[in-house]
């Protein structure tokens, strides 16, 4: 009965469909951005964007042209700078596949993070699955320009090495956008960002020779964690402090630690499981935090004469490792206190355990943070010894002695 009308409407739908394709963008009209660098500039911001050249990555005939290109502009705001980029880029920049955003150190120290972050969190094109980092002692622009071997797209290299080093080595941390924002806004936590820097000859980084040599002259490193207070960068944690930070924030998936033997030499262990529990307590009005680190490890390398078949010796090693973890953790906390920045989220812990007291501490938490009492309990269990039991090093040593 009303079939006619329905069909008419369907035709109308199709007509409308045929007249406009407002939001469509052909793939060949897009410049897929993989990394974004934000630096301070006298005009406001300097924006550097790394765009990949798909034909060089997956095309059928690869040439020796670079796989990525970078463009830089300046602008009063980031949004403005990004749009101004269209005057020099051949295509519209597409940000949804961004892997990493790098901030220049200068910008972080002087300007702060907040203004840059708003655009990043507001723009619909940007997702949340990219990581953020700081260019340590250099501008983000220089860092973005470095070509990397193996991983064709440099941003991919940085992203994946951030991930693998977080998973296997521990002194770095992949910081995603929402985590960063929530630690920036939370009164009981301060933000951190991993630092990146170039070693070798940075000036050769953006030449194709950088990837043509076996040993690239310019390499990207990542092993420091930048500490924020408010939204400004106040300092850096070194490798061992970064590791301590990751122990406290329960961010250790797998790492390697070593202790010295009784004699000369070292034993390395692979920590394959680590859990940290933070408990807060208000003890007579002063905040108190207990850090329980429970780790399991296996022996990875024995470079000294030791009989690891001996349980007592194993317990000794365990105790040494525990002590070392405690040292690392305490070192990290001391550094944080030095910067007066609660990067571990102790305030958040107290908010959860002592919500009432927290309300009183919240106002001047940075002072309270200095007085915070911290107890570290490390518990290390060695579960396995690898594929061999006793090391052959002992035998070699004995042989040496005999030969002498």
């Amino acid at each position: 009965m009303n079939q006619k009308v329905v069909h008419l409407l369907c035709i109308v739908v199709l007509c409308i469909s045929l007249t406009g394709c407002w939001s469509s963008r052909e793939l060949s009209e897009l410049a897929i951005a993989t990394a974004l660098g934000i630096d301070k500039h006298e005009d406001g911001y300097k924006l550097t964007v790394q765009i990949m050249n798909p034909g060089e990555i997956a095309g059928r005939q690869l040439t020796t042209r670079a796989v990525v290109t970078t463009y830089s502009t300046t602008g009063k705001t980031i949004f403005e700078a990004l749009r101004r980029l269209t005057t020099i880029t051949p295509r519209k920049i597409y940000l949804a596949h961004l892997r990493i955003i790098i901030f220049g150190q200068e910008l972080m120290e002087e300007e702060g993070l907040a203004n840059s972050l708003d655009f990043i969190s507001r723009d619909h094109e940007l997702r949340t699955d990219f990581s953020l980092a700081i260019a340590k002692d250099m501008s983000a622009e220089d860092l973005i320009k470095v070509l990397t071997p193996i991983e064709k797209v440099p941003a991919d290299k940085i992203f994946s090495s951030l991930k693998t080093s977080q998973d296997n080595w521990a002194p770095t941390k992949v910081v995603m956008l929402d985590e960063l924002i929530s630690s920036l806004t939370s009164p009981g936590k301060q933000a951190v960002l991993t630092g990146l820097y170039i070693s070798g000859k940075p000036e050769t980084g953006n030449h194709i020779e950088n990837v043509q040599q076996v040993d690239s002259p310019a390499k990207v490193h990542l092993d420091h964690i930048g500490v924020f207070k408010g939204d400004k960068l106040v300092g850096w944690l070194n490798e061992s402090e970064s590791k301590g930070f990751n122990y406290i924030t329960d961010n250790v998936l797998n790492t390697v630690g070593w202790v010295e033997c009784d004699q000369t030499g070292t034993i390395s262990v692979e920590v394959f499981k680590s859990n940290t529990k933070l408990t807060g307590l208000a003890d007579n009005g002063t905040p108190k935090i207990t850090i329980d680190v429970k780790s399991e490890a296996s022996i990875g390398e024995v470079a000294c004469q030791i009989d690891i078949n001996d349980e007592k010796k194993l317990t000794e090693i365990e105790q040494k490792l525990e002590k070392k973890i405690e040292e690392i953790v305490n070192g990290s906390i001391a550094k944080a206190k030095e910067f007066n920045s609660d990067i571990f989220g102790f305030g958040d812990v107290l908010r959860r355990f002592e919500p009432k007291k927290w309300e009183t501490w919240k106002e001047n938490w940075s002072e309270e943070f200095q007085n915070i009492e911290i107890t570290v309990n490390a518990d290390m269990k060695i579960r396995r010894t690898g594929t061999t039991t006793e090391s052959f090093i002992g035998k070699i040593e004995q042989k040496k002695e005999k030969d002498e």
């Binding site: 329905v6 409308i16 407002w22 699955d129 355990f353 919500p355 309300e359």
Partner: protein
């Protein structure tokens, strides 16, 4: 006039669920978190309990007048002219639900999915689809809902399970320790949106088998409310209260968090598009109810007469409903509360009381 068709209890329950979720699923977590912070999920839970209470009220009303829809009941209870006047008010209320949801849907699509497309076109397409659905009748609507329901539920369950690894229970701790007053206050806007809007179901309840209507309503309301609660809870647990409150569409951000083995990620649009089903049915039901209301009030022979003009009006009023997304949020937590209380609670209670009194006499 309304049709003489039957819909099954299960179909009715599905329609109720679709109406509870509707657009609410994309913005309720934000509203809840902006009040109760980490306890926002509790506000939604309380509102759900209230909603379940509402079911009994509506069930009693319907039970007094089986086989009569809302407009017929109003005329029965209050006489022809007062009844018609109240019907008109209800029609305006349902009309507002239709255009409000249309607008929220349009805003959502152009903010997140089709950025450069004019909102008029998005809304026009949705209205045309709704129009076709409304003209096909409540039977076809409820059957279509039946077809799409599994996908909606699977999408929500997938969302919940896939973001589970990202969740951190610390985000909602301490549980119910502070912010209690704000948590309770947060229930109030949630009552109006979406639970009191469920009064719309009174207008189609007569098509449902009398015994099954109440059960369907109850089941639908419970499942819908619980899904809303769980989605809010997941938003809070995964994103934290701050980001949940800050985002306009936190559930969509939650969808962005889906990542299974670095392979099954970036599927939030798919999830969002599937929620579109719930929104579609919410708009369609309100549209349908407005259409039968108008034709009942004017004593028309066929409700389809009014559908095409109404489609024009809904489209344009939807476009002008609110100047921007912020005003929609303000509207939902201010004006909409008394309005929905009047139509969803006060008038139904009066109807119930008058019904009882009349029966006694």
């Amino acid at each position: 006039m309304s049709e003489k068709v039957r819909i099954s209890g299960a179909q009715f329950a599905i329609l109720v669920i679709m109406n509870v979720l509707g657009t609410a699923i994309i913005i309720v977590p934000s509203i809840a978190a902006s009040f109760g912070q980490q306890n926002g999920w509790f506000s939604v839970l309380l509102a759900t309990l209230f909603g379940i209470g509402l079911v009994f009220l509506y069930y009693l009303i319907d039970n007094n007048h089986p086989n009569k829809n809302l407009y017929e009941q109003l005329e029965d209870l209050f006489g022809k002219w007062i009844g018609k006047f109240l019907s008109v008010l209800f029609i305006v209320f349902f009309f507002e639900i239709a255009i409000g949801n249309l607008r929220v849907m349009g805003d959502f699509i152009i903010t997140q999915i089709l950025v450069n497309t004019p909102i008029e076109v998005i809304m026009l397409l949705a209205v045309i689809t709704c129009l076709i659905a409304v003209r096909m009748g409540i039977e076809v609507i409820s059957r279509t809902a039946e077809i799409f329901f599994p996908y909606t539920v699977i999408a929500i369950i997938l969302l919940i399970t896939l973001v589970l690894p990202e969740s951190e229970i610390t985000h909602i701790q301490p549980v119910l320790q502070n912010n209690i007053a704000a948590t309770l206050a947060g229930v109030i806007p949630l009552l109006g949106y979406p639970f009191l809007e469920l009064v719309v179901m009174l207008a189609i309840m007569k098509h449902v088998n009398k015994q099954k209507a109440g059960r369907g309503f109850l089941v639908g309301m419970t499942i819908g409310g619980l899904l809303l609660t769980v989605v809010t809870l997941m938003c809070l647990v995964v994103l934290g209260s701050d980001i949940t409150a800050r985002n306009v569409y936190p559930t969509y951000v939650l969808g962005k968090k889906i990542s299974v083995a670095d392979f099954l990620d970036r599927i939030e649009i798919l999830v969002a598009i599937i929620w579109f089903f719930t929104i579609f049915f919410k708009i369609t039901i309100s549209f349908y109810v407005v259409a039968i209301g108008v034709s009942h009030t004017l004593n028309l022979k066929n409700y389809k007469t009014t559908t095409i003009p109404l489609a024009y009006v809904i489209m344009v009023f939807g476009f002008f409903a609110s100047p921007n997304i912020i005003s929609t949020r303000i509207f939902l937590s201010s004006t909409w509360i008394p309005v929905s209380l009047i139509f969803g609670l006060v008038i139904p209670i009066v109807m119930l009381v008058v019904g009882f009194v009349k029966k006694k006499i």
